[in-house]
Amino acid sequence: MELSRRTLLGGFAAVAGGTLVGCSSGMDTGSTAKKNTTTELTMWCWPGGLGKSVIDDTIAHFPDPKIKYSEIGGDFKQKLVTTFNGGTGIPDITGIKGEDIASLLPQASRFVDLKSVGADSVLGDYLEWKVNQATTLDGKVIGLPIDVGPTGLFYREDIFAAAGLPSDPAKVADQLKTWDDYFAAGVQLKAKNPKALLVWDATDLYDMVVGQGTERYISKDNKFIGDQDHIRKAWDTSVKAMTMKIDGKTPSGSPDWNAGLDQGTIPTHIGAAWVALDIKSAVKTSAGKWRLAPTPSGPANFGGSFLAITKNAADPQKAFDVIKYMLSADNEAKAFADAQIFPSAPAAYDKPELKAADKFFGGQVPIDVFGPAAKAIPVAYQSPYDDSVAAPFHDELKTVQTGSKTSDAAWASAVSKAKAIAKRQGVQ
């Protein structure tokens, strides 16, 4: 360590000054897409994104060129964008998650406009609001919907009954019509069973309420509207669950959530149809005691993804034939049987796979709840920057939940942070 400040600074000067290499950006930004080879059709999706039997069947159905399917774990969008930047190994067909589709719309030039390969004939088969999510403002369609995520209320029939609440799905649907009804039930439940908190996590609930509206954080003409009543209403609904002390503060998917579902400390969850799979894998002893009812105050949509064709695809027409086949009503019904991937084509709702009674839900038929919900999802414009702008609201709501800020202080801070982000993204 024979070093002094002087020598160190000298070294820096040498590093900084010694090299006067030009630093041009260096890489092309990929507007001229290199075509992939025709010998193989590569397809990317994330684990559980497509039904296993559907994948196998599709691969068998299209032997030439051979389909090479890869499962990409981790942050899917990050992998996709970095691969686009890297310029090599870009798949012909890729999945796009529902939460990422809005932010990829500005990159429509990277994807094939499905209308140019004959999508017009099939677009009408899918839920209209879902197709809209993948449609750019100038009318290009970059993805065909794989699935949708209509929400429903999952609840523990045994715990409701023990607390004197209605436990039969029809009666629950009747009594828990609005958030206020739901919260009132929560108070009644807690009085009888102090360990059971009806709302698993009030900040998760916030997103549900936002999703029930017809507007989000940014309007279609690119104005920030996150400070308006529709968002404040969702905020207040969430805060109400906290102040009524029926908030379990257990984010879904966390280990504590898994444990709580089975132990009965989390007797309800409101989530998309695909959450059923998470609940089923999390619980051991409470199978058969779960039931389904419509979401209080109306359905929302969570997730639901797309299959898109990149401009690098060797044969876009062929690639489109593949995704059209994969996402036919028959195959969507199969995917539901495989992994609870909820169909985006309403024709699938009448298939036997979806009409089957589910023992986990005490013989209830899930489609009876989710089918009507899927058709009743409110259409809301989602800006590419919606997620970035929404982030401060989630963060600040958590500070209310932990009691470190008052609701009004947190709201003010969330709005100012969101405005700063919106401004950075060029939103007025």
């Binding site: 002094s4 400040r5 950006s25 964008v81 963060d395 958590k398 700063a420």
Partner: protein, 314 residues
């Protein structure tokens, strides 16, 4: 440049292969330059060039897919106004102190104790070092499990003592405690070894002289051990600073890309990662990167002042 670097080996005149002639041409040293070249070439390509590009990028707007646009100081203007950046900066510095101070203090105490222990010293050393050679992601998963609310071991211990359980990973301070506990656990052993090496270089006579003077262990620690150990302490502080200000894996695995409740696990490097590779705002990410670099530089300079200042003034 030449002459400012003090090369300690000057005491034993380095060789030059065959005798030294003043007029030797530079190419006759080609073997030496060749031997040194791998590092400098790699550094130029993978260190210096990216660093310079980062500086350029910091003045541009780029989403990774469309063309780059020059924005002047736009990214820095936003940086100064961005509350998330300031939160991340504060978290990083708080986490740095919460983890580095206990790490170094515990390591020093253990090293002093190990120094006076006679038996099993190798067993202790190996065992203490093992936390440093484990999979970081695996350990982050482990620590998030013991701090988990309903089944975590920490809460189980609290409950059996009759203390109400805490929502560790859901509370701003809880997240920081969990993250710094992990860093401390991981780095104490490493620093203990470094200190131990430094302790062994202190001449025994000094201790014996102190003993004759009737100095107790505490006085010996402050009058001999610590002053003698100063350069070694500086080394550990610098290493911890460079590492600590770049904390990423622990919070990323434990509380995710959002930084957890109130973003209290959001560090500047995590913010950099999120901005660049999740939000695809590369220009802004470059501005954040430069600010982290300045931060490391500033902290190193401060360390230097504190630990080196006195001997420099000689």
């Amino acid at each position: 440049m030449t002459g400012t670097a003090t090369v300690p080996a000057a005491t034993t005149a380095p060789l030059t292969g065959k005798g030294q002639r003043p007029g030797r041409r530079i190419w006759s040293y080609w073997r030496f330059y060749l031997a040194l070249s791998p590092f400098y070439v790699l550094f130029a390509v993978f260190g210096l060039y990216p660093m310079l590009s980062t500086i350029v990028l910091a003045f541009q707007r780029w989403d990774g897919l469309s063309a780059r646009r020059f924005t002047g100081l736009g990214n820095f203007e936003f940086l100064v106004q961005d509350p998330t950046f300031w939160t991340a900066l504060e978290n990083t510095i708080v986490l740095f102190f919460m983890s580095t101070v206990p790490t170094l203090v515990i390591a020093l105490l253990l090293a002093v104790m190990l120094q006076s222990a006679v038996r099993f010293t190798n067993v202790y050393r190996i065992a203490y070092f093992i936390p440093n050679v484990t999979s970081l992601v695996a350990m982050a998963i482990f620590f998030s499990s013991i701090f988990s609310t309903n089944f975590g071991l920490v809460n189980a211990a609290l409950r059996s003592l009759g203390i109400p359980q805490q929502d560790w990973l859901g509370q701003p301070w809880g997240i920081k405690i969990a993250i710094s506990t992990m860093i401390v656990w991981q780095w104490v052993g490493y620093n203990t070894l470094i200190y131990l090496a430094g302790l062994q270089a202190i001449p025994k006579e000094q201790y014996e002289a102190a003993k004759v003077d009737g100095a107790g262990p505490v006085r010996t620690l402050f009058s001999i051990t610590l002053p003698q150990l100063r350069p070694v302490i500086l080394f550990t502080v610098v290493i911890s600073t460079i590492g600590g200000l770049q904390t990423f894996t622990e919070p990323q695995v434990m509380v995710g890309n959002s930084g957890g409740t109130g973003q209290s696990g959001m560090t500047v490097v995590l913010l950099f990662y999120r901005t660049a590779f999740l939000d695809n705002d590369y220009g802004y990410a470059a501005a954040i990167a430069l600010s982290i670099f300045l931060l490391v530089l500033l902290f190193t300079a401060i360390n230097w002042r504190i630990f080196r200042g006195r001997s420099d003034d000689r």
